[in-house]
């Protein structure tokens, strides 16, 4: 049987081992496949097992299953991410009102604790599946694919066009986890400061659209929006950006249109 292994320079190969020690391409094995030479800059006396597995592979497989299940119901899914207090829930409530009669939406509500946001959305007449990450998930600061999967059967997917996943408020962890979404919406509030794309590049890089929310506050802030845009462009060249305010309604119609454009043409 061939033995699959990788080298420090990144090359990966497989070869059969006979019953003699041998050497090739700058390293050596004995008949059991033990390294007897220096393979990748480390040397210990033990047996090395090459693994080469993506750490989030299991999450990604579950995310793919979620994506397939959503697709089989004809549902499009948007992962909505932001820091705490950027206005995700208020924006989603506004969107729920504006999408009424145009698209049937459901929400997966991710929170560490409480049903406060879920209650606000349910009051807007939207089916909501709450995932408290403190319940069985150890108080996680993000939703992962398994948590979203646990919410699937609690949503009437056959009666929905669009599922909005309100992720846990956090600019770091949610960006690392594919949950089976079709697109990512990031909500940024200008009170957070224009340097944030530089400090949280993974989140800003992963967003298909950045909604700069609470723009009604801009006259009261020293924030430099042009600078924010330049920082966003730096970490995510060509990033799409939209100015919104859940309070005044500015930009919310455009945001609703962006969501509707994700749906299959009927």
């Amino acid at each position: 049987m061939g033995r699959f292994h990788a080298h420090a320079d990144g090359t990966v190969h497989e070869h059969d081992h006979g019953d003699e020690d041998h050497e090739h391409a700058g390293h050596a094995h004995d008949a059991e496949g033990r390294d007897v030479g220096d393979h990748s800059g480390y040397t210990t006396g033990g047996l090395r097992v090459e693994v080469l597995e993506h750490i989030l592979g299991e999450n990604d497989r579950t995310a793919a299953a979620n994506r397939a299940d959503f697709a089989s119901h004809g549902v499009r899914v948007v992962n909505v991410m932001s820091s705490p207090g950027a206005g995700k829930t208020a924006l989603l409530v506004e969107l729920a009102h504006r999408l009424e009669g145009r698209a049937r939406i459901g929400v997966v509500e991710g929170d560490i604790e409480t049903a406060l946001d879920a209650d606000r959305l349910a009051a807007a007449g939207v089916p909501v599946a709450l995932v408290n990450t403190s319940a069985g998930f150890g108080g996680e600061c993000h939703l992962d694919a398994t948590m979203v999967r646990s919410a699937l059967e609690r949503l009437p997917l056959d009666d929905l066009d669009l599922v909005l996943i309100e992720n846990v408020g956090n600019l770091v962890c949610p960006a690392e986890f594919d949950v089976g979404e079709d697109a990512r919406l990031m909500v940024f509030s200008p009170t957070e400061g224009e340097e944030k794309p530089l400090k949280y590049p993974v989140m800003f890089r992963s967003a298909d659209l950045v909604a700069v929310n609470k723009v009604d506050l801009l006259p009261h802030l020293d924030v430099d929006l042009a600078r924010f845009e330049a920082n966003l462009e730096g970490v995510h060249p060509g990033a799409a950006m939209l100015l919104t305010s859940a309070k005044t309604g500015e930009g919310v119609d455009e945001l609703a249109d962006w969501l509707l454009a994700l749906l299959p043409a009927s």
Binding site: S40, R48, E58, E140, V172, C173, P201, R205
Partner: protein
């Protein structure tokens, strides 16, 4: 603190590959763009594997630099910040490393 989730995922992968054999070192590759704090990861590893057959194993984190290849001038450059710009001024670049998150190998206890 996604380091705990990441460690749980690593432990699952390691258990499959170790097949019950005692593990001394777990070597992982973490790209510069991954927002993982190596010290937090190592601390989380101790928490996650405590009271499991992996208790006592060491997590070795290999930092993989952020490298871009410029599509304009063709040069490859290692970057310190996540602003993806070639020193020639072009932002027309392709990431060639920096997003890794990989269990690379295990070192088993020499029997």
């Amino acid at each position: 603190m996604h380091e705990l989730s990441i460690c749980a995922a690593i432990a699952g992968i390691v258990e499959q590959h170790a097949e019950g054999r005692p593990v001394e070192i777990v070597r992982i590759d973490v790209g510069h763009l991954r927002q993982v704090v190596p010290e937090t990861l190592q601390y989380s590893w101790e928490l996650v594997v405590a009271d499991t057959p992996l208790a006592g194993s060491v997590l070795e984190v290999n930092h993989v630099p952020l490298v871009v290849r410029c599509d304009a001038c063709g040069e490859s450059t290692e970057l310190d910040t996540a602003v993806l710009r070639c020193p020639c001024g072009s932002t027309d670049v392709t990431l060639t490393s920096g997003e890794e998150l990989l269990v690379r190998s295990l070192e088993l206890v020499d029997a």
